[in-house]
Assembly symmetry: C3
Homo-oligomer: 231 residues x 3
């Protein structure tokens, strides 16, 4: 199976280690053995946390954009409804979730169903609301994390300031020759990772140090400091 998926991820953190905005959105194509993205489409978004429930719509649009010129068998969306078809997801089927989450979803459901119907019509493939059960969603999350590091490094260099970035759940970042790799630390995912190519060489312009987010177990943080600045 060739699977397209998307996610948004990595957050800017304030001095109390609270997330203030989401940095990157990415769509990925994943093929067997489902360990890395074959292709990806990334965007810096820097969306404030309060609006993050709208991100899922943008994620599906990114999947749609990646589908132009990329053959795939199915789309995995980061909404956890046991793999139900997005096109058929109705307000009744989401009646068992909390009322706050439900009201957020009801607002975006028509848009999501519309895009899912478009994808079905144009490419003949389904969009599944599979979320946390999907490996491609996880790979999208890690790939978003890798791109977020590059975007945050750019921000640190541009603004001549230290930037603290909260990584996705249970992963760690590693600088490699041509970019950044984010490896999963979840059990049975030791061989899953996300990659972002550093074409501009921005990682050469920062130092980065990893720490644990003390207020969020399982989440690691990165401090990116421009090399020309003494903090």
């Amino acid at each position: 199976m060739r699977i397209i998926s998307a996610d948004s991820g990595a957050a800017l953190l304030n001095e109390r280690f609270e997330a203030t905005s989401i940095i990157a959105a990415v769509a990925v194509l994943v093929e067997p053995p489902y360990r890395l993205a074959e292709k990806s489409l990334a965007e810096p978004i820097f969306t404030t946390i309060g609006n993050s429930h709208e991100l899922i719509v943008h994620e599906l649009e990114l999947c749609q954009a990646l589908l132009k010129g990329t053959k795939a068998d199915v789309v995995h969306l980061d909404m956890s409804f046991g793999g139900l078809l997005m096109e058929e997801l109705s307000p009744i089927q989401i009646s068992n979730i909390s009322s706050k989450a439900r009201s957020h979803i009801l607002k975006i459901l028509p848009k999501l169903r519309k895009i899912a119907a478009d994808i079905k019509r144009v490419y003949g493939i389904e969009v599944l609301a599979i979320g946390k059960d999907s490996v491609p969603v996880r790979i999208a999350e890690l790939t978003a994390g890798a791109h977020a590091i590059l975007y945050a490094a750019e921000k640190a260099v541009d603004e001549k300031t230290m930037v603290c970035l909260g990584m996705p759940s249970k992963c760690y970042a590693r600088k490699v020759e041509d970019g950044v790799v984010v490896h999963s630390l979840t059990p049975a995912e030791h061989d899953i990772a996300g990659f972002a190519a550093d074409k501009e060489g921005v990682m050469e312009k920062v130092t980065f140090s990893e720490l644990l987010n003390p207020c969020a177990r399982g989440f690691r943080a990165l401090e990116l400091t421009p090399k020309s600045v003494n903090m």
Copy 2:
């Protein structure tokens, strides 16, 4: 403590990575330090998924069979009711579970209580509904996974076809000189494993490659291909 336990496990997967049948059932004897089975009794079952709630009865029968000729202090059954005595488990005590699961359990409860009472009478030991809290249940699960690989390899060779097998949660398989070992990847279980002896040398007749089940995070899959077949 010498503990006897049982589990069924590893599934045949269709091309959409959905489980279609459960391959193996196994009972094990586990002793300190509780890392591997000292003894095991395995069976190919190939039970369709729809009937899998009946498997627990067969698992307890396998425990009973292993008890003939094996001394033990207690039996751990793969039902998660906090370690309650199986013999005393009543419909009232299971009132807090979902109505679908409850109706499945009510159907098999009389059989389970009968076998538990027999075990108590003949061997003087208790059957505990301990499930997910039990290390011996986990060892039974991994041992079932190891035997399932052998049974699936046989099936692949006999039917001259590739077989895709879904492994138990959070584990990976390794071919060793005299059989197959399935290692746990769960935190704090790095030294727990299941083993199946390959007396017929069936693993020599297949190639196997591991991949991630893209639709079920935490679950890995194996593709077993007979060596004489070019897929």
Copy 3:
């Protein structure tokens, strides 16, 4: 951020691997990168399991004791209420938890709020009910585990008997030159640990062997045997 936290941990186990009493309480000071305690204050407590809900009060008192002579920015308490301020925690805010847990908490809430108010008045810092989300709480738990090993070893030597100790969740112990280190085995916590200095050299007087607690997945146990005794 300089964070003070506390926890109680490690249990004496009976021959059925059931916890009978909690061995140690400890308060810790944790600083970036939040991997080890910079400072700790430990006590042998040997409190029977039935009274363990009172331990949280003692843990906060230990934090208060550590604050004398230790500068910190915030206190993390091992109560999981999403990081709410302890001083403002009201019976209404805990209305969504089980009635048994609620009645335990209501008994100790006035004492906790009183100590939190004292800490605020004297040191100007907040006490957060953050519990399971806090890395410093986890470091306190592992540090309590390390001290508990020393206290249990002393008990084994004094009473000339084998002592079986149930470790905190998902960790393992290692003897080092000058003490004991307890390492986390939780995903993304591979670099978090707790340490206890063995000033009396008590670990030289015992042998210790690790096993898995067969009735509690994720929990490992240690058998400590005085060297002069043949068990």
